[in-house]
Amino acid sequence: MTTFFDELHDRFPDLVRSVEETVSNQVVVLLNGPDVTAIVRHFIAEHQARIVTVFAEDRVKAEGVFYNYYVFDRPGEPSWVILKAPIPERFPSFPSLAAELPAINWQEREIQDWLGLEAVGHPNPRRVALHDNWPDVHPMRKSFPLETVLPPFEGEQHVYRPTYGEGVFQIPVGPVHAGIIEPGHFNFAVAGEPILYLQLRMFYTHKGTEKLFENLPVHRAIFLAESISGDSAFSHGTAFCQAVERAAEIAVPARAQFMRTILLELERIENHIADVGAIANDVGFVIANAHAGRMREIVLYLNESLTGSRVLRGMVAIGGVRRDWQQDQVEAIERALKVVEREFSDLVAIIQTSDSTRDRLEHTGILRSEKALMLGIVGVAGRASGIDRDTRRDHPYEAYSQLPFNVPVYDAGDVRHRMQVRIDELGESIQMIRAAAALLPEGPHRAPTAPIPPGRCAMSAVEGWRGEIVHWVRTGEGNRIERCKIKDPSINNWPAIVEAVEGNIVADFPVINKSFNLSYSGTDR
């Protein structure tokens, strides 16, 4: 550990101002200026580091600068490295890394949109988060009030890359889709049936979530965190609580850690069941989806009996969970799991013995390992394309370090294997919950409430059912949040869909899209 940072000081004496581990396993490297290129290249070449996320913060009033934060993860290292690069108010720009790190293409553009800091040299510097018809505003600047009423927007002005050639045409889809799903716009360029390329336009559901966190009392902010992405309410809520707990040095009692772990895995089970059913449904195998829907209700009923909410809302709290479990509630877990385990294996058998279904899923929507690695793909989609990463194992939190589990990884990268990762993970989750329920410690379910000290920063990462969720918070005065940065795994993974659909037929797009099942709201916030 120390050698790594001595090395940084030695190699970049002019760039590095200080290195500090303010929170356990989170090392903040404060730089002298906005250019991180040399250090980032060093991290990647010498330490095989992966960029987790990049985001910015307006500290102009307090410190006279903006900060860019680059979060890195190194294989085999439990600690995160956070580069903190000051950007002077008078020269609001920073050198873009997107050309060599496509994984942060969107995130750098978000910084441009939210804070008006220019990513100099970005290969595609157009707006991403604010649509073209927005006025010239930067909502994440502190000088921009939350309640600002913007003038009515004019019609769409976005220019998509044109398509030329005989028999080549474009199909615009959305933002209102045919199914019961979230809004986004897809522009397919097609040559007959096969897709030449896909252009995405997101952020239709942008509702000012990160701005809403500013100055929000912590006890209310938890509920906002639960509404970042509705199918991951508990994961996002937990990620937020963990970040605050680390910033404020609140120790979560062991019982609460185990309870959270069980609920995190139940969220995964519920969504994986739904996805396996929906993937089969999207290739016309409706009966599988009917069984999955029925099975999902069993888990939702269990959720309700454990938390009062079918979708696990209103349970997680700073310092633990809001409600303790009685013995009969804990016993209900095993009863439900037994049914789910049996029913799910029947479901998988039904899907796998259907040749026509398998035929549609195999070799469909392939995401190659090299591409996945380059784009920084996370979670289920990454593990189906050979990326052996799982936050639960690599940066354990809650009770995960005390539970045995395997991380399924496949190289094929097609729809079939994104489904297989879910099938395998569901089995692992059931075993994890069993182990956690057996080990469930006695004791308090929540740490005593204490004031949250202001001016503390910390991040947390939770392996949601889709993949790696990251929250970063700065605490404010009076038990409030000053800044909460949210990175949903969907932000990383949208470009994977663009890669995966190329050369596939339009009719396979729904199932390819479903095999990733990304969150629009988590992306758009």
């Binding site: 309410a233 829907g293 009996s305 809302r313 409600r323 039904i350």
Partner: protein
């Protein structure tokens, strides 16, 4: 093939017969909170705890106006936990759909003691169901279509929580098709728009266009705290608030998200299928 049929026979029917039979609710299920206005000695802790502003206070000249808005409530239970006097109690009620936005709002007025606690309850009011507007639309829909209804769901900016429960309406347990109700892929085929919110500025145009593309007569149902009022997001630089800020709404379904039975209750209420209607909160 044989295996598939065998499985289906083994499972049998999974459908729950709501609304004829009350749904199976877990003992711990949280419905909406209930307020004993007579016994409520201090509304401040509950208002402070409420994450969405569903409980709002207005103090003036020694009087306190308390407003409780079920159109903002997310059923989190924090008001109950914060109120030491036991006047706020979480219930298992979830059939809350209303055709008039005002029916979701309760008010009470208290004289105040010097320490800010309540002295005497001066007045309280709860909304009552005005069935007429819904019934009218329902009759015209029914005369046109009998008992068949086509729904186009529109996500105008939600977190996807409501969509999860709307999707569940199609599973064999809730099976909305047994009422002749089905979800369609285009607003041009729809009789009803089932809209979740908050309506974002980026979705405003799409929502207006979808509404315009839906043939008359049409019903609009706003789903969830965010669809009704903007919920925890409210109105801000990126959000316009509830659905009725953009298009006219016929029925409001509270919840965060509303459970499938609550959605069914609201949809059936909107089409006048159900005789059993809520008369007051």
């Amino acid at each position: 093939m044989f295996k598939i049929l065998q499985k289906s026979f083994k499972v049998g029917s999974a459908t729950a017969d709501y609304p004829a039979i009350s749904p199976r609710l877990a003992e711990q299920f949280r419905g909406c909170p209930e307020f004993d206005f007579e016994a409520w000695s201090d509304a401040r802790p509950a208002a402070e705890a409420c994450p969405t502003g569903a409980i709002a206070l207005h103090d003036k000249n020694g009087l306190r106006q308390v407003t409780v808005d079920y159109g903002r409530c997310i059923f989190c239970g924090e008001c109950e936990a914060a109120s030491a006097d036991g006047a706020v109690r979480m219930t298992r009620k979830f059939e809350l759909a209303a055709s008039d936005r005002r029916d979701l709002v309760l008010t009470a007025e208290y004289a105040l003691r010097p320490d800010g606690t309540h002295d005497a309850l001066q007045a309280s009011a709860s909304g009552s169901l005005l069935e007429e507007p819904v019934k009218r639309v329902a009759e015209s829909i029914q005369s046109l279509l009998g008992r068949s209804l086509s729904i186009r769901q529109v996500d105008a900016g939600s977190c996807n929580g409501c969509e999860q429960e709307i999707v569940a309406l199609n599973n064999p347990v809730h099976d909305i098709e047994r009422f002749g109700i089905h979800f369609v892929a285009s607003p041009r085929h729809a009789d009803m728009l089932l809209v979740t919110g908050p309506v974002t500025r980026n979705m405003e145009l799409a929502l207006r266009k979808t509404w315009a593309a839906t043939p008359d007569p049409k019903i609009v149902v706003a789903v969830g705290a965010c669809g009704i009022s903007g919920g925890i997001f409210g109105a801000n630089y990126a959000s316009l608030g509830g659905v009725d800020a953009v298009i006219p709404v016929d029925v409001y379904i509270p919840g965060c998200p509303p459970r499938p039975e609550a959605l069914l209750h609201g949809i059936l209420l909107a089409v006048g299928y159900q005789a059993r209607v809520r008369t007051s909160l």
